[in-house]
Amino acid sequence: MKIDRRCFLSFIVGGAAGTALSPLPWKITDDLSIWSQNWPWTPVPPAGETSFVTSTCTLCPGGCGISVRKVDERAVKVEGLKGHPVNDGGLCILGLAAAQLLYAPTRVRGPLKKVDGAWREISWADAIKEIAAKLADLRAKGQPQSVAWISESDRGTTAELCKRFLTVYGSPNYFRTPSIQDAYETALYLTQGQRAMAGFDVAQADFVLSFSSGLIEGWGSPAYMFRARNAMRQNGGRISQVEPRLSKTAAKADQWVPIKPGTEGALALGLVHVIIAEGLYRKNFIDSRSTGFDALKQIAGASYAPEAVSRLTGIEAKTIVDLAKAFAGAKKPLAVCGRGSGRIPGGLQEVLAVHCLNALTGSINQPGGVIAVPEPEYIDWPEPEMDAVASRGVQQPRLDGAGRDGFPLARYLLNRLPEAQTAGASAPVQALFVSGANPVYSLADTQAVAKAFSKVPLIVSLSSYMDETAAMAHYILPSHAHLERYEDVPAALGFPKPILGLSKPAVKPAFKTKYVGDMVIALAKAMGGPVAEAFGWESYEACLKQTLGNAWDTLVKNGYVVDAKFKPGEFETPSQKFEFNNPALAKLPAYAAQRAPGDEKSFPLTLIPYDTMRLASGPIGSPPFLVKALEETVLQQNTALVDVNPATAKDLGLSEGSAAVLSTPKGSARVKVHLFDGIMPGLVALPRGLGHTAYDKYLAGKGVNTNALISPVEDPGSGFEAGWGIRANLTRA
């Protein structure tokens, strides 16, 4: 027998035949396909029991009811709470993406201390001990007023705890981040004598005149405004949007009136002029419920005749007259202001002018009008005992000048803090707490803010995320994420009724975090003495439960308590009437259209920031889903697009998609050009909410932060931040 090549061949053939007749090749083929259907690196979410936790969203002051869907102990999705008076099942894009915030890679996982420029983990006990020691030191030096606290809100138990801490410690320097609320609260107080929040009964109005307010771009309580706007239009109501750019609100309005930016107040006065001149105002309101009408008549007199206003605003005189007639002719007209999502208070005179328009048509505290919603009063804690240091400290002037000689009307002027910190030889703020706010990102002229903050020897960030301010801090004492904690939600911004919501933990805290309320209590206790005595609560939860009292059970069950039968109170001015010209008002400087900073020669264009629902521009950074949902006309790769009118672009030699450099007196940035017919010539528009330097790779480094390019503008009468834009130039890159 000879073994040759043919034997080998034969062996192979036999082997092949045998293999083919065995399950081996077929099973492997099949199993490989099954493997490819379940690649080990493709996650498979574990199944489990589904449950829902009723809560209130605290990502913005909108106060929406949410239902957190859980699978076992995982929060899978946040949905709107059906039947909730604010949002009735709907929810905004940010609220819907909330699970991404909960599980974000940018969450701070435990207390951190900055040592030699690098973050080191530290225990809660040590962190609080160290900070308490530093605070005690300042107090011992008699400088308790050098401690400041910045937060997004000044209402509710958390804010009250922080304020209480500062008070018993001895500092008057609590800051609320600026917003249109500031201006509205002041306007309501000046004209109606009411310390109240402005609610807007958009749903029942039949004509809404919006002065650049993004009714569907985050203004007020976003989800409520969406619903109210639709309800109102469903009933035959109309919306006129006055705005320099065709925002989504303008696009969805019945009428878009393009206006030169910054002149909205002039238009309001122009409308007042026409309404008075033509006798279109509600005589019964003016006669029986108001005083000082003549003063208003005088203010809106000759200088605000339609032709003059036309020159100022760029709107045709006839349009102004028609608009006035349409507004006054409506049964339940409502005028609103606050640009975009209302992050900037704007000039007080502007708000007053718009508010007077409402008064002329009697749309004050009436269905379909502006409603003075009383500030919540459920927090009734005993006055704290204060020692001499504290008493002296709180008597010191506020660092921003609010409530003092310069700006007697304002309560908080955070916009003035950076300059105060850097102006003098010594820095007045020696310690700064930041909770629920990201001022290094969100205040105008971020470079100046960062410079001012760099002069604070101790910054403690209470952020859940590694945001821009946290990155600058010396300590980060991370708070629970919004789905991990109890918190009362004292109001829904812009909602026309008092409503109290409760945010409940949907899941256990994932990391070594501590809620702000608990941190304050712990810090106070660590301070000892009168400071500790003012905080008798065992924990924040106990404090909250005790504070809410009878409402607790309802809140836990339903998530909210609403005063359905609410009727707005009477005017509380000395005259018990709507005052068009009380002494405080009369003292204010006359209205003047605010000019954009910068010189027109080197900066022939004007940059205006705009808001979009698809970007979170406040203290929360946009989660990945929001960035993903951005239009390609807003962001391409890491470059933001600016809206430019095709005619302007042609003059500048730019076309769709051109790479360009956008420069302002404050800085410059690379952008791309998007030709947009919906913007007035001569303007450049850039969205707010991009250009983060902190957070994760899904957000950081994308686009430009508008706040880095604009500079603050101070309203002369009130001290409010009134900037709406800046001179700019756009050149081909």
């Binding site: 083929t29 490989l32 396909s33 493997w35 490819s36 259907q37």
Partner: protein
């Protein structure tokens, strides 16, 4: 060194020269293989395809090589079924080119799918209503036919032929080759047509969609027809290129002219049908879907898809070569003939290009614009890969197999071994 493998009575270059040549082409081949591996292991993100361009360069390459590989089935049909006996002198090469084209098509398809490990689902879980299923089945079967047709040629290698079993196998296979050729023609008719159907049935894509006959859109028949017309042109084109590369006359003019004449008439009739189809589509089909002819050709950036492409395909690369090949005076001129077959080949490629890429580039939703696409280097490399592979296979076959029966007669060597 390898002289024992080289067919008798022909002259080949030295083994060193040959190895160098293979190395050069092999380098290109390896480049393609590298790109292929990238696509396999990193996924199709290596390409520049996107959600608007789900089908791109690869599918075009597939359609094009299959159309050009049509020379095999059509020549086979002519030779074995219609008895054009003279074509036996070129059938080997037609089969080889077909084999290369079809194996290339299968290779590219295997890279093109997102889940290669599951690609066999197309057979196992077949949806018989899909044109792609028909393509896959017929393509695979016809590739089998081509293999069956190519195998005897391989077995005719001097050394293999000495083995009695293989010799007998070759003999027997030759004996029933007509049966295989007929089956091949049957399969080709359907898969060439189905490839036409691929875009023809897309009623959501008015540029490609055609009304039709029974379950087939007109493009079904146009594709079969154009493959039968342009496939032989490609065979002639490659034959001529090979002749130029080898500096030898390999096929007699009479054979070439016969095939060219048949291809010419096929092309002429095809182009008439194509024009009728285009006119009907432009005048009836598209307007019914809300689009005019110029919607498909205007407003696109850079005029990548301007009317020129239609003129080029139908006029310059359709009517012109058809007329040239039909006219005996022009056809008999080797240069003119070569120009004509080249144009016809370009025409087929252009046709496949627009029917794959323009179909998707044309915006259908009125609020969308044209979609642009530029292939990535990985796509280009993997598309060139089969070209390199084809060159290598042709080189090997030419060197070791009796591909051209007339070579010996046309190129007598003195004192042949």
């Amino acid at each position: 060194m390898d002289s024992a493998l080289i067919p008798k009575g022909v002259k080949r270059c030295s083994i060193g020269q040959f190895a160098l040549w293979i190395a050069v082409v092999g380098a290109v081949l390896l480049w393609g293989v590298w790109a292929m591996l990238l696509c396999y292991f990193r996924g199709l993100n290596q390409t520049n395809m996107n959600n608007a361009y789900g089908f791109a360069l690869w599918i075009w390459a597939d359609l094009a090589v299959i159309a050009l590989g049509g020379g095999a089935f059509f020549t086979g049909l002519l030779r074995y079924i219609f008895g054009k006996d003279e074509l036996k002198h070129i059938i080997n090469y037609a089969v080889l080119i077909g084999f290369i084209c079809y194996s290339s098509a299968l290779l590219i398809l295997a890279i093109d799918v997102g889940q290669p490990l599951r690609a066999w689902f197309i057979f196992w879980h077949a949806n018989v209503h899909s044109m792609l299923t028909e393509v896959a089945f017929c393509l695979t079967c016809y590739f089998g036919v081509l293999t069956i047709e190519y195998v005897p040629l391989v077995l005719e290698n001097r050394q293999i032929d000495r083995l009695p079993f293989f010799h007998n196998l070759t003999h027997n296979m030759h004996g029933i080759m007509a049966l295989f050729a007929a089956t091949g023609a049957f399969l080709s008719f359907f898969h060439q047509g189905s490839l036409g159907g691929v875009s023809g049935v897309l009623y959501g894509r008015p540029f490609g969609f055609r009304t039709g006959l029974l379950v087939w859109p007109w493009t079904f028949f146009l594709y079969t027809w154009s493959a039968a017309a342009c496939g032989p042109c490609f065979t002639l084109f490659i034959t001529r290129i090979t002749e130029m590369a080898t500096c030898k006359k390999l096929v007699k003019d009479s054979v070439v002219e016969l095939l060219a004449k048949i291809a010419g008439w096929m092309l002429l009739t095809y182009i008439v049908a194509k024009i009728i189809d285009t006119v009907y589509w432009a005048a009836v089909t598209a307007p019914a879907m809300g689009l005019t002819l110029m919607d498909f050709y205007s407003n696109n950036p850079g005029s990548a898809y301007g009317l020129w492409i239609l003129i080029a395909e139908v006029g310059v690369c359709g009517v012109l070569p058809a007329v040239m090949l039909v006219a005996p005076g022009i056809r008999s001129n080797p240069s003119m003939r070569f120009i004509a077959v080249t144009l016809a080949v370009i025409g087929a490629c252009l046709n496949r290009w627009v029917m794959v890429l323009q179909v998707q580039a044309v915006p259908v939703l009125p609020f969308e614009g044209w979609f642009g696409y530029m292939p990535s280097w990985q796509e280009i490399a993997t598309t060139i890969l089969p070209v390199a592979y084809g060159i290598i296979l042709i080189s090997l076959s030419y060197r070791y197999l009796p591909v051209f029966p007339q070579e010996q007669e046309l190129n007598p060597i003195e004192g042949g071994k």
